[in-house]
C-alpha cells in the first residue's frame, strides 16, 4: 500500500505552490484536483477567436525589470517557465457625478465627475500626482510610503538578526500599523479625506473597506503596486498554472485531475487517507488543503471528527466578497473603442466604506474595467480586443433568483455593468461585442466550491486581519498533519497571497517529513 509523504487537496494557486515546494524537496507528492485543469481562479477559457483571462488583474509580485518581485522570484526558484509582461501604470479612478454633487468638473472624456485620478508608478510620482489632485496631500503620501519602506526593511531584517537592531526603532510604528485600520492610519498621517479615497482605491483587491482593513496590510499592498508597477503572464493565468504543473511533474510529483476528494479517512484522531471520487482510497502522512474550509468540514469529514475550534471559526468569520465578471471579445481595437487605460475603477462614491455598503446589493455602480490589450497588444487577433468588467457583492445576493430566471438575470446584470462603463468613459461597447461570457457568484461557486462563490476566503476584519492570522496560523490548523493554504488563510485574496500560503504550508510539511515526525 503506497503512502504519499503529502497529499495536496486542490490545485488552486496555494495547492500548486504547496505541491511544487514538497516535490522539489523530494517528498513523494500527490496533488488532487476536482477539475480537469489546474489553477482554480488562475486559468483561462476560449470563446470563438478569444482566449479570456478569468480573474487576474495585475501581479504586484512581478515588478520592474531590475528588481525581482515575490511571484517572479518563486517562479525563478521553481524554474517555472512564464513570460512576463510588465506594466508601468497603476489605476485610474473615475467617480461620475451624481445629482446634488457640487464639486464636479468635466474630465478629458467629456464626462461630469467628482474624481478622475490616473495614478502613475513610483512613490514620488504618485505623491506628486496626488498633490496635484488634492493640494496638501504630498507629505502625508510620502510619509505613508516611508512607513511602508521601513516596515518592509524591518521584515527583511527579521531573517537577519544582526541587522534587526537597526530596525528596532521602527517596531513601535509597525505595531501601531497592525493595531489600527487603514482610515485611522491615514488620518494620523494627516492625509486629506479626498486623497485618502484615491489612495484607498485598491481596497477591493483585499475586499475589506478602510474602516476594517488593517493599516499595515493595506499599506504593504499599495507599496508593492506603486513601487515598481506590476506584471501579468503573456498567455493568461493558465500559463502560470501549467508552468507549476510542469514543475511538479519534473520533480517527480503526481497530479491527478478530475479527482475530487470526497472523504477524509481518520486514524488515531487525525487524517490518514482520502477517498477520491467516492471510489479510490489513497494514503498520506501529511495533507495540505487548498479547498474552502466551509466545504471541507461540511463535505469531507464526519461531524464527530471535526475539531470544535474549526466550526467556531466558521461561525465567527464573515464570508468575503464574491464577484461578477463580464468577459467581452470586441470586434474593434482598444483605440477604436476609445479605451486609454488598462484598469479603470468606476465607483458610485469615492469612499471605500460607501463602496462597501453599496456592494451589499447586486450591481451598485462599482465596476472595474480592464483591457488586456493595453499590456499585451497581441492577446487577441488583429482588429479586436478583449475587456473584462468586474464588480463585487457580499452575501447571498442571488437569494431570489430561480434557475429559470438565471439567464435573464445574468444578462441584466451584464447590461447594467456595460452601460455603467459606457457612461463613465463616454465610449460605446455594446454594438461591438463578438463574444460575451458572464460569470456570476454561482459560476464562481461552481468552479471554486466556496460559499457564495467567494474567491477571497473570509473577510479581513479588524479583529481577524493578516497579522493575527499569521501569528496564530499553527494554532488555527485542525490537526498536526493537516494544513490549509489559499485565500481562506493569513493573507486573504490574491495570487501572490495564495502562492505564499502554499509555499509556507509546503515548507512546514517538508520540515516535518525531514525531521521524521
Amino acid at each position: 500500500m503506497k503512502q504519499y509523504d503529502v497529499i495536496v487537496i486542490g490545485a488552486g494557486n496555494g495547492g500548486l505552490a504547496a505541491a511544487a515546494t514538497c516535490a522539489r524537496e523530494g517528498l513523494s507528492t500527490l496533488l488532487l484536483e476536482r477539475h480537469n485543469i489546474p489553477g482554480g481562479s488562475a486559468s483561462s477559457f476560449v470563446r470563438g477567436r478569444f482566449e479570456f483571462e478569468p480573474s487576474l488583474h495585475e501581479l504586484a509580485g512581478v515588478g520592474a525589470p531590475d528588481e525581482v518581485g515575490t511571484i517572479e522570484d518563486m517562479f525563478n526558484r521553481f524554474e517555472g517557465d512564464v513570460d512576463w509582461h510588465r506594466h508601468d501604470s497603476t489605476f485610474r479612478l473615475v467617480v461620475p457625478a451624481k445629482e446634488g454633487d457640487t464639486d464636479t468638473f468635466i474630465n478629458e472624456d467629456g464626462v461630469e465627475v467628482t474624481v478622475d485620478a490616473r495614478m502613475p508608478v513610483g512613490f514620488h510620482n504618485f505623491a506628486k500626482k496626488l498633490e496635484e489632485l488634492v493640494p496638501g496631500s504630498y507629505d502625508s503620501c510620502m510619509a505613508a510610503f516611508d512607513l511602508s519602506t521601513r516596515m518592509f526593511k524591518a521584515f527583511d531584517n527579521l531573517e537577519n538578526p544582526s541587522k534587526l537592531v537597526g530596525s528596532v526603532k521602527d517596531l513601535p510604528d509597525i505595531m501601531r500599523m497592525v493595531s489600527h485600520t487603514m482610515n485611522e492610519g491615514l488620518d494620523a498621517l494627516g492625509m486629506p479625506k479626498k486623497a485618502q479615497d484615491i489612495f484607498n482605491t485598491y481596497w477591493c483587491y483585499l475586499g475589506s473597506p478602510g474602516s476594517q482593513l488593517d493599516f499595515l496590510y493595506y499599506l504593504a499592498m499599495v507599496h508593492s503596486y506603486i513601487k515598481n508597477g506590476t506584471g501579468i503572464p503573456h498567455l493568461r493565468s493558465h500559463e502560470m498554472s501549467l508552468a507549476i504543473d510542469d514543475v511538479i511533474r519534473r520533480n517527480g510529483g503526481d497530479i491527478w485531475y478530475n479527482s475530487e476528494v470526497t472523504k477524509v479517512i481518520m486514524k488515531d484522531g487525525k487524517p490518514a487517507a482520502v477517498v477520491i471520487n467516492g471510489e479510490k482510497t489513497v494514503y498520506g502522512k501529511y495533507f495540505i488543503c487548498n479547498s474552502s474550509p466551509n466545504a471541507v468540514w461540511a463535505d469531507l469529514f464526519d461531524e464527530k471528527d471535526i475539531p470544535a475550534k474549526q466550526l467556531k471559526m466558521l461561525n465567527s468569520r464573515k464570508v468575503a466578497c464574491s464577484l461578477t465578471t463580464v468577459y467581452l471579445g470586441m470586434n474593434k481595437t482598444k483605440e477604436e473603442l476609445g479605451i486609454k487605460d488598462y484598469s479603470v475603477f468606476i465607483a458610485p462614491d469615492s469612499d471605500s466604506d460607501k463602496q462597501y455598503e453599496a456592494a451589499q446589493d447586486f450591481f451598485s455602480g462599482f465596476c472595474i474595467i480592464n483591457c488586456l490589450n493595453e499590456i499585451i497588444p497581441d492577446c487577441t487577433p488583429e482588429g479586436t480586443s478583449q475587456l473584462f468588467l468586474t464588480t463585487m457583492t457580499f452575501g447571498d445576493v442571488m437569494k431570489d433568483v430561480k434557475p429559470q430566471d438565471y439567464k435573464k438575470f445574468k444578462t441584466k446584470v451584464a447590461k447594467d455593468m456595460i452601460e455603467t462603463c459606457e457612461k463613465a468613459l463616454n465610449i460605446s461597447i455594446t454594438p461591438y461585442i463578438e463574444e460575451i461570457e458572464i460569470a456570476l457568484p454561482p459560476t464562481f461557486a461552481r468552479y471554486l466550491n466556496t460559499p457564495f462563490g467567494t474567491p477571497y476566503g473570509y473577510m479581513l476584519e479588524k479583529w481577524d486581519s493578516m497579522i493575527p492570522r499569521t501569528v496564530q496560523y499553527i494554532q488555527d490548523q485542525p490537526f498536526s498533519n493537516f494544513f490549509f493554504c489559499g485565500a481562506s488563510q493569513e493573507r486573504g485574496d490574491g495570487y501572490g497571497c495564495a502562492y505564499y500560503t502554499g509555499e509556507k504550508a509546503g515548507g512546514i510539511v517538508v520540515k516535518k517529513v525531514k525531521e521524521g515526525k
Binding site: 517557465d81 501549467l242 467556531k312
Partner: protein
C-alpha cells in the same frame, strides 16, 4: 510622522485575545446559511443526471425522439434547467466499451421544469452510438447524461434581434428548442428558420414547426428541399441554402445574426455562401458538428503517417499500452480499448478531455482547434480531436 504616535501600539495584543474570544463564543456546529449561489450552481450543473425513457416517437424511418424523465431511484429528482440550444452528453457502455455522444436538446427549457427532456437522434450510417440507441433505448430504459452544456445560445447583448437559423437534417434540434423558448416567452428574438431537407416527405418536426409559426409571429419557417422530385410544395424552396436564398429571407435594412447547425458538409457549403454576404464575424455562429473523421482528407495532414500507432496512457496510477489506428482520434482509440476517458463535446471545443502529451506528435484539424495558448507551450491536447502521427505517451484525467 508626528501624528502617528496618536495610534496605540499595544492595541494589537488585546486584538489577539479578542480574536480568541470571538472564536470561543461562537457555536461549534456546521453553519447553515442560505447560499443560493451554490444552490444555483448545483441545480444548473449537476455532475450527472440519471434518467429514464418515458416515450419514443418515430419521426421518420431513421429518426426518433426520446423523452427522458428523472429517475429518483438513482438520485435525480429534477432536471437541470437549460438555455435553448444546449446539448446533453449521453454516457453508454457498448460491449465493455465506454462511449459518449453529445446531442442537442430538442425540447423547450420550460419542459425541463415539468421534468422532461427530449433528445432527437438520427440513425447515422455506420454510427456506433446511434445504432446502439435505436437497438436498446425503449420505454423504461435507464439513461445517464451530463448537465446541459455548450455555448450555442442566443445572447441578446451580442446577437442581432433577428436571427436566421440555418439547419440541415437533424441539425434542426437546437432550433426546435429555441423556437419553443420564444413561443413560451423564455427567449426574445425573431427567428427565421431556413431548414434544409431531402424532400417534402423527409422533413423532421414538420407539424410542430407549422404550429409554432402559426401561433407565434416571431417565428418564420422556410423549407429548402435538395432532392425534391417534381414541383416544390407551396412556400418551400428547391435547392440548397445559398447566399441568394439567405438574402431573400434576411432583413434588408438591419443587422441579423446567422446561426448554423448541421453536418460538416453543410458548413463547408454554407460558409462559402456566407462569405459572399460579407457579414461581421460576430453575427455568424456555428454549433459544433460532432466527431471528426478521416483526418487524412485534410489538406494540411502530413505525409507518410504510420497506419497503426502505440499509445501509452496513464490515468491516475494506472498505465495502459494500447494499439490504434492513426485515422482514429486518441479518444476513440482509448475507448475502443475499453479505457474510459473524460468526454463531453467530442469536437475540441469544451476542453473537458484536456490532457498532457508527454511524447509523440498529433494532428489537430484547424476547425477543431480550441486549445488555450499555454497548452501549446506545455504540450497539452484535447484527445477528442487529436489524431496520432507517431507513437504517443499521454497523461489523461480520470473519466468523470
Amino acid at each position: 510622522m508626528a501624528n502617528l504616535k496618536s495610534l496605540k501600539a499595544k492595541k494589537f495584543l488585546s486584538m489577539l485575545s479578542y480574536r480568541q474570544g470571538r472564536f470561543d463564543e461562537a457555536k461549534a456546529e456546521l453553519p447553515n446559511f442560505g447560499d443560493n449561489a451554490m444552490a444555483l450552481a448545483k441545480a444548473l450543473h449537476p455532475k450527472r443526471q440519471y434518467l429514464k425513457i418515458a416515450e419514443v416517437v418515430e419521426r421518420s424511418e431513421d429518426c426518433r425522439s426520446y423523452t427522458l424523465v428523472p429517475d429518483p431511484d438513482r438520485g435525480t429528482d429534477a432536471l437541470a434547467y437549460f438555455g435553448a440550444g444546449k446539448y446533453l452528453t449521453v454516457f453508454e457502455t457498448i460491449e465493455d466499451m465506454p462511449i459518449t455522444r453529445a446531442y442537442s436538446i430538442s425540447s423547450s427549457p420550460k419542459e425541463s421544469l415539468e421534468g422532461k427532456y427530449v433528445l432527437t437522434i438520427k440513425l447515422v450510417d455506420g454510427g456506433l452510438m446511434s445504432k446502439y440507441i435505436f437497438d436498446t433505448w425503449t420505454v423504461g430504459r435507464e439513461v445517464e447524461v451530463s448537465a446541459p452544456s455548450g455555448n450555442f445560445e442566443y445572447q441578446p447583448l451580442r446577437d442581432a434581434k433577428k436571427v436566421l437559423c440555418l439547419a440541415g437534417g437533424s441539425g434542426i434540434t437546437p432550433f426546435i428548442s429555441m423556437a419553443n423558448a420564444i413561443a413560451d416567452g423564455d427567449e426574445d428574438f425573431e427567428l427565421t428558420l431556413l431548414y434544409g431537407s431531402r424532400d417534402a416527405k423527409n422533413i423532421l418536426f414538420k407539424e410542430e414547426l407549422d404550429e409554432l409559426a402559426d401561433k407565434c409571429d416571431k417565428i418564420k419557417v422556410v423549407h429548402i428541399l435538395s432532392n425534391q422530385k417534381g414541383r416544390c410544395p407551396k412556400g418551400m424552396e428547391k435547392g440548397f441554402i445559398t447566399a441568394e436564398l439567405i438574402k431573400k429571407y434576411a432583413p434588408a435594412d438591419e443587422a441579423y445574426s446567422v446561426f448554423l447547425c448541421g453536418p460538416q458538409q453543410m458548413y463547408q457549403f454554407v460558409d462559402k455562401e456566407l462569405e459572399k454576404l460579407d457579414l461581421e464575424k460576430k453575427y455568424i455562429r456555428h454549433e459544433m458538428f460532432g466527431e471528426f473523421h478521416n483526418p487524412a482528407t485534410q489538406a494540411d495532414y502530413p505525409q507518410s503517417v504510420p497506419e497503426t500507432v502505440k499509445i501509452t496512457v496513464t490515468i491516475q496510477d494506472n498505465t495502459y499500452v494500447v494499439e490504434g489506428n492513426s485515422g482514429d482520434s486518441v479518444m476513440q482509440t482509448l475507448e475502443k480499448n475499453g479505457i474510459s476517458v473524460p468526454a463531453r463535446c467530442r469536437s475540441g471545443e469544451c476542453g473537458f478531455c484536456h490532457s498532457h502529451l508527454l511524447s509523440g506528435k498529433v494532428y489537430v484539424p484547424k476547425a477543431l482547434e480550441y486549445r488555450r495558448l499555454a497548452d501549446y507551450k506545455f504540450g497539452c491536447i484535447h484527445p477528442c480531436c487529436s489524431f496520432p502521427l507517431t507513437d504517443l505517451e499521454i497523461n489523461v484525467p480520470v473519466a468523470k
